[in-house]
Symmetry: C2
Subunit: 148 residues, 2 copies
Amino acid sequence: MTYSIGDVVKKTGLSAYTLRYYEKEGLLPFVKKNASGVRAYSDEDLRWLTMIECLKDSGLQIKEIRQYIEWFNEGDSTLAQRLSLFENRRKILEKEMARLTVVMNKIRYKELLYREAVRVGNLDIATNERRFQHLKKKLFESPDDFDK
Amino acid sequence: MTYSIGDVVKKTGLSAYTLRYYEKEGLLPFVKKNASGVRAYSDEDLRWLTMIECLKDSGLQIKEIRQYIEWFNEGDSTLAQRLSLFENRRKILEKEMARLTVVMNKIRYKELLYREAVRVGNLDIATNERRFQHLKKKLFESPDDFDK
DNA sequence: ATAACACCTAGAGTTTACTCTAGGTGTTGA
DNA sequence: TCAACACCTAGAGTAAACTCTAGGTGTTAT
């Protein structure tokens, strides 16, 4: 079973431009073409696109994904490099999630504060209400840096 | 108390280039300059930089941050717009965290799998071990899309 | 007084990941 | 047969967020 580029656009949501670009960047080294140059994607190619999406979502750049694919195609001699890539990614994702949690708290504080400010029609009044002062102290190291 | 651009570089970790760029983009509308054009940042400006960092970390683009700052400076007539901005951000951050959780599971699976593959020296053997087949089924909708 | 240093502006250059254009090929239904 | 359609390549263009260069000003330590 093979698929035209139009089929793959429908299946993946990627544009045809992007699919050709990925190929040019070495992310799909085994896509077949017929005599007149028209691409025929295999199920294997589609699985690679799934993996590429995952690696992209994890924050890898395209050249890093290409490196991974090269390692994969070199076989078991590159297992250690690939393990190391996934370890680093996991650590980076952990940091990223911790960072997002901190940001989320700040944004949620702002959302609550502005909900109250809209209710009373005045930001300063809301900011000085005891429960927001309290919340701010609980959430931030330097609370007054956060009144902008 | 005021600070030179060099002081602010040390305090924030931003480059002087970036600080001037932010100013050019309207993120620091009130930085004072002396007669010969040298910047003197106030504590208020530093608080704005803290807020800008938070908004950037939440995923806002620079032009959106400028919009927020403009709204802030217009006063209480823009409370509703600012509330709406924070609501949207909170929703986007929730989605982002959910997305990262999914990616994290996949990367952790890969890390475990490759740790075992390195141990036995062969990726296929590790992939076919019962516990990894089991883990894969538990984690993914289309498990075989994930063997790349 | 002169060299080092920190700062300035305007504008050009960089990086990443696309996105599009121009000009062309091959297939197919009326 | 001929128009519509899907596809092709090479290369140019875009957006965002910096980052740097060139050429200049003002201050300070020796």
